[in-house]
């Protein structure tokens, strides 16, 4: 039985969800600094505040605009996710999300389930260009960074917490080090417990943030409508939190026939739920 080192834990609500930080040998002050960082980035990158950097970027399309290093990194990550997912992970879905009624945080109340109206989603590289310190968005496009931002933040946060830590931002989590018992961080995945070492995990689902049988938050960019592929939930372990997020969403969108082969090629472990 390996010795189990004490784990410092810190839980808080941010990004419209529950967040948890864990560290072996870390100080509580460092975990609190992590919370402040999450809150600062959350305020900077939310689409629900008109004053956020993301909203100002969405509201001023057509020309080059100076952006922060964080937004630049996330936009580059979004372009990479578009490429690696064959266009299925596309952050230019904001207009389609608004068309199905998802215009305010769900904590403020559920949207009214109106008649579904398809809203075409442009290919991200056609509407977004990024250069050092600046980016340009075409007028017909708007961006929601969603899960990519949480996975990206979890990856950066875990490294700031120390050499043996986990950051879990609303289910997008990233682990570094050997965990409290030296064999990895025990993490729940699809009803089982797995050990993560320098890996990330994420879940993509249409069961949450759903306000009718047809209305939910996960837009299929091929149709511009809420996804209906035969898979309702996919959880994935990958080499990083953001990678897990991209693979989980892609697997859910390709559906139950292709998802096993796709996950076998891109994930380290995976949970598929129809």
């Amino acid at each position: 039985m390996p010795l189990r080192a004490p784990v410092e834990a810190h839980h808080f609500e941010a990004l419209g969800t529950n967040c948890s930080l864990f560290a072996v040998g870390g100080s509580r002050g460092r975990l609190l600094q992590g919370e402040f960082w999450v809150r600062r980035l959350g305020a900077q990158l939310t689409r629900f505040s008109p004053d956020s950097e993301l909203s100002r970027f969405n509201d001023a399309p057509g020309g080059w605009r100076d952006i922060s290093p964080e937004l630049e990194s996330l936009l580059r990550e979004s372009l990479r996710a578009f490429e690696t997912s064959g266009g299925l992970v596309n952050v230019a879905v904001l207009h389609a999300m608004e068309a199905v009624g998802y215009t305010t945080p769900l904590a403020r109340g559920w949207p009214v389930a109106s008649e579904l109206r398809a809203c075409s989603v442009p290919p991200l590289p056609d509407v977004l260009a990024v250069r050092p310190g600046a980016a340009r968005l075409e007028p017909r496009a708007a961006i929601d960074l969603g899960g990519i931002a949480k996975g990206w933040m979890a990856d950066r946060l875990r490294d700031s917490l120390g050499p043996n830590a986990v950051a879990n931002l609303g289910g997008d989590l990233s682990a570094v080090g050997w965990g409290p018992a030296g064999d990895g961080w025990p993490v729940g995945l699809g009803g089982a417990t797995v050990l993560l070492r320098d890996q990330g995990a994420a879940t993509s689902s249409v069961r949450r943030r759903r306000w009718s049988r047809e209305h939910h938050h996960l837009i299929d960019p091929r149709t511009g409508l809420p996804a209906n592929t035969g898979l309702e939930e996919v959880s994935v372990v990958a080499t990083s939190g953001v990678e897990a997020e991209v693979v989980a969403k892609t697997a859910l969108l390709v559906g139950p026939e292709l998802a096993p082969a796709y996950c076998a090629a891109h994930a380290l472990a995976w949970w598929l739920s129809p």
Partner: protein
Amino acid sequence: MRAVILKAGATLLTVAATALSALYVTSHLKNPAAPLQPTVLSTSHGVAVSAPGGTLTLGPAVQPSAAQPVTSTYAS
């Protein structure tokens, strides 16, 4: 006359070589003992475990544990 004979001979030789080659190839489709045969890397698709509500598959880089999880991935 000599040129015609040469042309006919060359044509006959070509046809015969083609026919014999085709015969040889179709009768020797594969030699399993041939040297330098590349080994095919076996692809691991992980161990699939059926669980209530879905299927969990673990690749070789992820180990299961009986320990209590400190946290979980979940839909939010």
